[in-house]
Amino acid sequence: MPTSGDERIKASAFIPVSTAAVLLVGSTTLFFVFTCPWLAVTVSTYVPPCSAILFFLVLANFTMATFMDAGVLPMANEDEDKDDDLRAPLYKNVDVKGVQVRLKWCASCHFYRPPRCSHCSVCDHCVEDFDHHCPWVNNCIGRRNYRYFFLFLLSLTMHMVGVFSGSLLYILHHQEDLLKLHCTVTLVVMSVSGLFFIPVLGLTGFHLYLVSRGRTTNEQVTGKFQGGVNPFTLGCCGNLEYLICSPISPKYTARPIKKSAVRIMPPFLKPETDRQIPIIRVRDNGVQRHDLQSKRLSADGMDEPDIKRLNTPPPLHPKPDPKLLKSHLAALEGHYLSSEPILARVDQQLAFQSGPMSSPHQLNSLTLNSHFLTHKHAYRHGNKLPALHSEGLISQKVSPGRFPPHNPLSSRSSFSYSNLVNPGDPNYLPQRGGPPLHYHPQFLTLGLDGSVLQGSPSHSYSPVFMGALMHRDLSPQTLIHREASPIRYDNLSKSIVASIKERQEMEAKDRMLRMQARSQALYGCPDMGVYDIPSRRSLPADSMRPPGSRAPTPPSYGSREFMMSTGILGYAGTRSPLSSASSSSLTRAPRTSSSPLQSSGLQSKGRSPSPSYLPPDRQAKPSSSSSTLPHTPSSSSAPLCLCGSREDINMQLWE
């Protein structure tokens, strides 16, 4: 039925034009046959030829107006509008001779309509200098055929005047023979011409007015320039001149496009500059680098070395003192440890970094544990160690020189959230150092005596999100931090180093908290293997968040809870889920604690959100690496046992 409907529509569109054509041709033919011979004899012999010429003019313009392309603009290619379609505003302003003209986005043709262009709903295409869609010619009237339409109107008006007046003259001279054929036909022709003369004359006059004002029918009807200035008018004479004398613009559609092959083969020439132009590059990680544009730019090589430079870890630094690490670990245990996190490679490094590097291993494993949930990658790959994407700060602090390869990654991950929050903001990280500092005393307090911390965490991170993020984000601040922390280890005393580390941990924790918030949305994701068990098990339903949503600002529960949740487990996300989850998780696992910080601090907290998030099979690595941290024997059921030496600690924490 749709086809028949379309056919009916199409057939009905031809009725006016057919009627017009029939009337025009028919009437004129009758006029020529029945009236013109008498006119030629009575009035002048030039009447028929002039009438004929006029009639041919009418016909020609009518034909051109009917069949000529009005200036149809072809639809835009996909390449042109692929950016616009998604975010394009509906209107765009351009300045035309000092007048702001609004360009509207054409949803059908996928481009911003040029000035004076409009979309014809009947023909379903945009027409340049759109006037109107004329049913009598069944065509759009636009830039290319407006002249012919106007001339058609003019000529038709004159023709109708001639026909009507000639017929009238004939009738007046043959009043006694009105019933004769000639008179009857002439009477009919006169009636028709007289009947249609009024609207045609009106339309002609209307378009004369439009031409004098330099407007189109569309603009007149929509009242675009009623009160304002028309930037497209050239004055009355100029408009008439433009109407008659302007060149005919080309047809845009159905053009014979000759494709002459132009061979494009690399290598390509590059522009050479005479001077070095400093380029400020804002990378997607928010780094702003000032590059000197060399004389010979290598298009694809430019960014590579830069990125590689950024990725290149800082030079190795002397490994921290194991004792230092112990103290640090102790401090860490009471705190959120999630920050440093390293990726899958960390576990590899930890794997080969055994023996003397046990402390860092443990530390890292602790941090890794804390970030276990964050990194689905590790889970997926069955890594015992949690591969985590988060800041490498703590790991940096622990063994800055140990994980140079991870620095970039950890830095990336650590700043992934920051980059999300403030992409391209190079100052974001330094600024974010503020809030973590706020927790410094709290952490210290906790670290020292495991007492309840004051204050509240600011954010909950989404470890999943962090893990899920591409590790492309590098920020110089991360590098700076990384580069700085090893330096601190070199010269500072143990306590100072510990405090510095704590501060960095707080920053990392801050970030992790934020990540947690994001991870909430991802907890239910089946693809996130890491979250399968913990998230579904421990997180309450209301903790589920739409992807991309942020966690609320600092949880309202006490700092202790925050410490528990963020410091180690940090993945619990929001407060309520954190608290509930932590409580559940905490109570779930047996609490064995001999570690100073953990046992006192964590147990007293009563909650640790994260342990439950860890799959039970994530047993810590065998405690091959001797732990420098005092740890209580941990139950094997501890969900989060990423490192043998850290098992119990993790147990404490998670519980």
Binding site: E80, P115, P247, I248, Y252, V262, P266, F268, A299, D300
Partner: protein, 158 residues
């Protein structure tokens, strides 16, 4: 196999389209066909500014010549009207002649200037005179490590 290998080599060597840059119309002087001479930043590393601007300015000159309302266009219109527009079947309009010149000019520019730089201009008439489309091709031949860099980048992202 050998043929496939050869084709693969060719595919690897033939540049692929990286992006397209569109030069929009300049409507500051009305609906006269004129394109913006503003140098797009995406081409900054591919072609000299002066070369590109010269091309656009020349195109604008051509279009201004095509759309000039003067004696020639008036005579053309009168002739067409006098012949009941049958003249259009016999000869092409002035605008069409200039468009052919423009097409030749773009072709020449592509061959001499843009193709060696991995760019390709598209005749605006194919886009309804709304934009000048500049196709930017990937530059793989500048360094032999480009395929390896692609591989390395792919690995790093994993």
């Amino acid at each position: 196999m050998a043929t496939e290998f050869h084709n693969l080599q060719e595919l690897r060597q033939s540049p692929s389209l990286a992006t397209k840059v569109f030069i929009q119309r300049d409507y500051s002087e009305g609906t006269v066909c004129r394109f913006q001479i503003k140098f797009p930043s995406e081409l900054g590393s591919r072609i000299e500014r002066t070369l590109f601007e010269d091309t656009v300015k020349t195109l604008n000159t051509y279009y201004a010549e095509a759309e000039k309302v003067g004696g020639q266009s008036y005579m053309e219109g009168c002739l067409a009207c006098a012949t009941a527009y049958f003249i259009f079947f016999c000869m092409e309009t002035r605008y069409e002649k200039v468009l052919k010149k423009i097409s030749g000019y773009i072709q020449e520019q592509n061959e001499k200037i843009y193709a060696p730089r991995g760019l390709l201009l598209t005749d605006p008439v194919e886009r309804g005179m709304r934009v000048i489309e500049v196709s930017v091709f990937e530059d793989r031949g500048s360094s032999g490590s480009s395929p390896s860099s692609n591989v390395s980048s792919g690995i790093s992202q994993r």
